[in-house]
Amino acid sequence: MADQRPDPDALLASLKREEAQSRRGRLKVFFGMCPGVGKTFAMLRAAQQELRDGTDLVVGVVETHKRADTEALLAGLPVIPRKQIIYRGTELTEMDLEAILARRPKLVLVDEFAHTNAPGSRHPKRYQDVIELLDAGLDVFTTLNVQHLESRADAVRQITGAMVQETVPDSVFELADQIELIDLPPESLLERLREGKVYLGERANAAAEGFFKDAHLTALRELALRFVAERVDKRLRELRATGASQTVWRSGERLLVAVGPSPSSTQLVRWTRRMAAAQGAAWIAVSVESSRALSPDAQRRLEQNLALARELGAEVVVTHADDVAAALVRVALQNNATQIVVGQSRNPRWLDLLRGGSLVDRLLRRSGPIDIYVVPAERSAEKPGLWLSLRPAVNSPGREYGEVAGVLAGLTIANWFLVPHTGYLAVGLVYLLAVITLSLRVGRGPVFAAGVLSALTWNFLFIPPLFTFVIAKFEDGMMFGTYFAVALIAGQLTARIRAQERNERLREERATALFHLTQALSAARTLDDAVFAALRQADRLFAGQTALLYDHDGSAELTPHFAGSFTLTDKERGVADWCWRNRKNAGRFTDTLPASEGFHVPLVREDRAVGVFVLRVPSDAALTLAQRDLAGSFATQLALVVEREQLRASGEREKLLAESEKLHRALLDGVSHELKTPLAVLSAAAESLATADDSTRASLATEIRTATRRLNRLVNNLLDQTRLESGALQPRLDWCDAHDLVNAALDGIRESLAAHPFESAVPDDLPLFRADSALMEQVIANLVLNAALHTPDGTPIFLAAGLDQARARIFFTVADRGPGLPPAMRERLFQKFQRGDAARAGGLGLGLSIIRGFVAAQGGEIVAGENPGGGAVFTVYLPFTPHGRVPSE
């Protein structure tokens, strides 16, 4: 009984899957064996039903091909107008992806899943548009023929002989939640064809002749039916295995396929995918880059093959090694692969022998427990010959062959004069020396050519009988044979060592670049330094321009960093945005918006993208896989830096918050104490007043007055501090008279000053100066009051004002003969909540902070110092400019 109860883990897993599927849109494919079976018709009928059920649906794109019954079904369905794209003067229309995403319906109809979009669209393929719609949570209905399935394209071509251009990767087809097979017996289809009910395109008939044959249709139908049946079977098995394992790969088998630039590799990839699917196994596609550089054509083909593998669901690994077999076995072991798939060698047997056995032989020697599958190569129009495969790895082979020819020609002439003196054997050694010297300078191909050419020339011109390729004596023949072998082997060995060296150097360069990058990044103190260093390195390394975009203020918007050398257009910003949100490479060299200028790499940290690294290389240059790898490494490093900065910033924010909390607490403690003391006095005095006799009444009133003054001062200080901090303080500068200021300032504090001998000295001829009189009065009053509060009673206080003509400033000095300022205190003197030890009347310690704020607001400064002869001195400086002329009477 207990066994039949569902496993809680399995339940949870299936719940999670359902949740993931419910967030993602559902894809329904109307699947047919060939055009004309009525897929679009069936899709529209289903849509009409949905519409009647109240589903919010739109038509993204539907091709009616002007068929009346189809158009009738389209009537009543809301259609999103297609987007116009002008490409080379031709107006093309494509599905308006943005408009649909903006409209956000529940269901979108997208005809012809395998369609290729016009250049300049967001994605090259329509199925990529559909994936974006699904990712956005929209349901999609679409149509597809079996011949457009990537893994079935070969089979269809073999059946019908027609090339299929537009294909959909099987991995994309796997996204389908529901497949409806639209089946039609071949006879009915042929009948519809005769009635002209099947649209075949503009250039249809010739191709269609071959395509729509009864036998072909039967085979296609079988193909379609079998495909759907296989899928249903696979689904069933998957359902049975729910919760059994986290991966969909149940067999534990892992296939590894070696991918090269040859067209046969394409078939190898498809073959492996089919085998992997049949076994329910995961698979890896491996490309081994050797020291031999590929021609741009081969490079492009290799990338296409790898892209295909990726599309078909493979994990792609690129590695560097000269020994392909060793590299494949290494990667296989690293990835726990159980089977290696390689193509059959097309090299001549003798060449394989020369290289130490064919790839298969070498693999078999090393593979151990790993199975090796050898897939026969299909005949291909393009079959690289011996010379092609030996093409040297140097940029201009023509020049090197020229060099070889030149050297040999020169040497031959020299030898012509040498031979009478030394004999023809010595001449052979001279040739050998030349070949080996050349191998230090040129590539493998030219060295090989030099060996052959020099041997033949030696034989023809110098070995008797002269001017024939015949060799008369046996020992000459042996000599010649040995020469030939030595020249070839030595030359090839040297060239190989050089190639390896160069490869080593390239790898070294990459490693050095990364090393320098990490070094620069760890040395950089700020994000700006780091980004600057990284981008300049990238500029040099890729010989292009770079930019970094990141979300610097948490606004969920990308902003370019100023250190970038590539200024992004709005369009490029859009690409970067896409790259950021989808965490996938985008732009040039990718499948998303390939028409853009930059190659965009997301900076991914864990499961989020913190920014985008953009690389722009000249339009005629390409990025090799290794360079793209390197760009990826750069992006990873930059991601670390940006994340570090973001963490630091959030840490800083927290520190700031803690700091302000501390301040608030100090303020609250201080304020509550300072408020409560006078309040207590007031309340007690008020109560006593009611019962007091006349003699005490007067002194109670004095107490109340003192408490009120203190309270008033406190409130004013708090208000002033708030005004200063909120930036609400707007000084009103006007012409001021120093005497007036001093008088007004002293008026308010006379009572507090009573216990101190006070003296003030303001010169009679002190000119007017500009200041905010209210602020200045408070500054002077607070300074004098401070001196009174922080010194013992009876301590003299001096106030002086004057004009420092030389430095064009007015000064006010308040000095006392008190205990002076402790040096430790002087630093923090003007900060908030700093209370002097000698303060008698309490206070919040805001006084000097406010004074400094007020003085600074008027463009002045305040300096604290030691009074020669004891005590403290505070001097306020204000800028001085004389006033304009006053008109005479």
Binding site: T708, N712, N716, L719, D720, R723, R732, D734, W735, C736, D737, H739, D740, L741, N743, A744, V762, D764, L768, D772, S773, A774, E777, H883, G884, V886, P887, E889
Partner: protein, 232 residues
Amino acid sequence: MKADPARPEILVIDDEVQIRRLLRLTLEPAGYRLSEAGTGQLGLTEAATRQFDAIILDLGLPDCSGVEVVRRLREWSRVPVLILSVLAAEDDKVAALDAGADDYLTKPFGAPELTARLRALLRRSVADEDEPAAMAFGDLTVDLAARVVSRAGTDVSLTAREYSIFRLLVMHRGKVVTHRQILREVWGPKAEGNTHYLRVHMTHLRQKLEADPHRPRHLKTESGIGFRFVTE
């Protein structure tokens, strides 16, 4: 229509009940009669329906600014207005004074200060009708009709501008006169920003008229606002 001149009637416009109560406690024993209004609108209605001898107006009202109340009041009334305001609101004070208020008092204030200001305001409004030609303030004697000013029995010679400033302050004696009002009156509207004219002339006036020019008894500075001629 004036009521009993011995018991002047005052309108208090302030939204704080406690301030209104305090004013009543302070002013009623001093012989004033008080009416109260809690908002600017009510205050204006009250002022329009009854004749008051003076109005005490708080600048921070809930429904409209005190400056606005003064402006609207001055459209039809010349009743003396005393502004109550808090510290650090110089701009508002100046605006209210320029709008036509007669004097101001900064909170917190003492009772003697308040009654002194009120007395000055009421005297001015009474004195408007029969201005005496000659007046004496301490050792200063002023005869506005004869344009003669003398100190301790000796005539002082003032320039035309100095006399104009002095005359303006004396005519508004006890009340504050803003920089702007003086500059407008003496130099004309174009000179409004040139407060240094005023400062320079004031220095000269004090030197001629005050016993200690640095501690003036009569020609007082109201910082940031203007000057006041103090009579005693």
